[in-house]
Amino acid sequence: MRISRDDVLNWIRNCAAAVADNKEYLIQLDSDIGDGDHGANIHRGFQAVLSKLPTVADKDIGTIFKTVGFTLISTVGGASGPLYGALFMQMGTVTAGKLELTLADWAAAIEAGLNGVILRGKAILGDKTMVDALMPSAKALHEASIEGKSLPDALRTCARAAEKGMRNTIPLVAKKGRASYLGERSVGHQDPGATSSNLLLQVAVRTWTNGAS
């Protein structure tokens, strides 16, 4: 029960498709408490990733993730560009040289990615950012891995944690990013970045519980 390189490539492609499908939704969320570009930003980024992917499809998973990260950095812009960039770059660092991933590898990758996001953006849990979706997800994967859960089970637990973390942003007052300017007026809205982060983890379940597992 491993995640192969092809699985990784499929996940990234499916992420691009899911982002495209949710572009308007993410724009709407970002219009409510931000500047209305989040959907367009990461869509632009993942489109660039799609066209870059063939050039590294035969490389190790670490290289693939780093390429994704680097591409996002140079095409997304805004706050989410460097943050998603950091996520994938760090995922790439801890998976360097690998051609397949165990559950423990995947958990380590997400944890490293999360740390990259925190290092760049300095948000803590509860600031109403993507960290609120990523941190519980990383935790869930880590625990599932220790508990020896199956990969599909772990992915599902992780996705549930991501979704819960995303929903938890609704009642929060934003403390970081553009939504923080709104103060109390940010309450009652779901964070766009947490929403896109959740999306990536939902796609992992969808992709890998029909395929590799």
Binding site: N41, G77, G81, K176, G177, R178
Partner: protein
């Protein structure tokens, strides 16, 4: 969505082509990565000044590239910070050996992207200083927010630093002057209408016919308070009171008073606002010795205005008055 555009995805590209066609005497426009650089760059021995940010704020920053102001501007997608490769290439393109100043507006995205670019440029041996502009008094406390936004003072900092760099001041000096402008400048804005981000296709927020937003930024983000529409005099008073009480400005201070249009507000209305803002400044004991009135830092087609006050001293006044030759700001040459 009523705009003079073709495809929303092409707006920045076509705008840049328009700028390239219009001002070949002033600037060169580079694509992939996108940046606008002063004609004849790099200037040997001159500190290069690079700014940038999302598009949709024109003429800032591209309209300010030229003699006595910016050496390069990096336009992102609409309302989206540019990416580090843009700032890196621009920084390399304007480095004349005396180092490069990055003037960065305080937004999470701008900060992070400029930071990465500065690191990369330093890796290539270029001395880079970054100054963050955060003059928006509508945002109160960086403990609970991403900190005050960079708004109107950015335009003044770019003009003043540009003048300083033109006289071959050192990078450290130019950066310190930039910090001084930021320390002494305060702004606040308001909106009568929302703007429409082209790829979103509809207003970012909606305001009833009798409502306005006070304390907005320049990205169509909602403001701090929604209020009943008020007369221009009352609006000028609200903005001026917040600004003056924040610094605080002192009796007898010389100031530059900048009344800025958000993009959809005509000059006529800006003079109506200026009339009251000037009166309030004078009543508060300030001497308005310089001013700027027009749409210089905008938010697409948003209707509304912002006011910026900058406390002047002899040095800042002299640098403000120095010749400038850009597409959007020009005097003395």
């Amino acid at each position: 969505m009523k705009k003079l555009i073709n495809e929303p995805e092409h707006i920045v590209y076509e705008e840049l082509r328009g700028i390239a066609a219009a001002h070949p005497d002033l600037v060169e426009v580079h694509f992939d990565p996108n940046y606008i650089v002063r004609k004849g760059s790099p200037l040997k021995g001159k500190v290069g000044i690079v700014s940038g940010g999302g598009s949709g704020h024109e003429p800032m920053h591209g309209g300010f590239v030229g003699h006595g102001m910016l050496d390069a501007a990096c336009p992102g997608a609409v309302f989206t910070s540019p990416t580090p490769d843009q700032m890196l290439e621009a920084t390399k393109g304007v480095n004349g050996g005396a180092g490069v100043l990055h003037i960065v507006k305080n937004y999470t995205g701008d900060i992070m992207n400029f930071e990465m670019a500065a690191d990369l440029a330093r890796d290539e041996g270029i001395e880079v200083e970054s100054v963050v502009i955060n003059d928006d008094v509508a945002v109160q406390d960086s403990l609970y927010t991403a900190g005050r936004r960079g708004v109107g003072a950015t335009v003044l900092a770019e003009k003043i630093c540009g003048a300083a760099a033109e006289t071959r001041r050192s990078l450290k000096d130019v950066a310190n002057i930039c910090r001084k402008v930021n320390d002494r400048g305060r702004s606040m804005g308001m909106a009568l209408t929302s703007c429409i981000v082209p790829h979103a296709g509809k207003p970012t927020f909606s305001l009833a016919e009798d409502e306005m937003e006070i304390g907005i930024g320049i990205h169509g983000e909602p403001g701090r308070i929604r209020m009943k529409l008020a007369p221009a005099d009352k609006i000028a008073e609200m903005l001026m009171t917040s600004i003056i009480s924040d610094l605080p400005y002192k009796n007898g201070d010389e100031v530059l008073l900048f009344v800025n249009g958000m993009g959809g507000t005509p000059l006529m209305e800006l003079y109506v606002v200026y009339n009251k803002a000037h009166e309030i400044a004078v009543k508060s004991g300030l001497k308005v010795t310089r001013n700027l009135i027009g749409s210089y830092i905008t938010s697409l087609e948003m209707a509304g205005c912002s006011i910026t006050l900058l406390k002047l001293d002899d040095e800042l006044t002299r640098l403000w008055d120095a010749p400038v030759k850009t597409a959007a700001l020009r005097w003395g040459m």
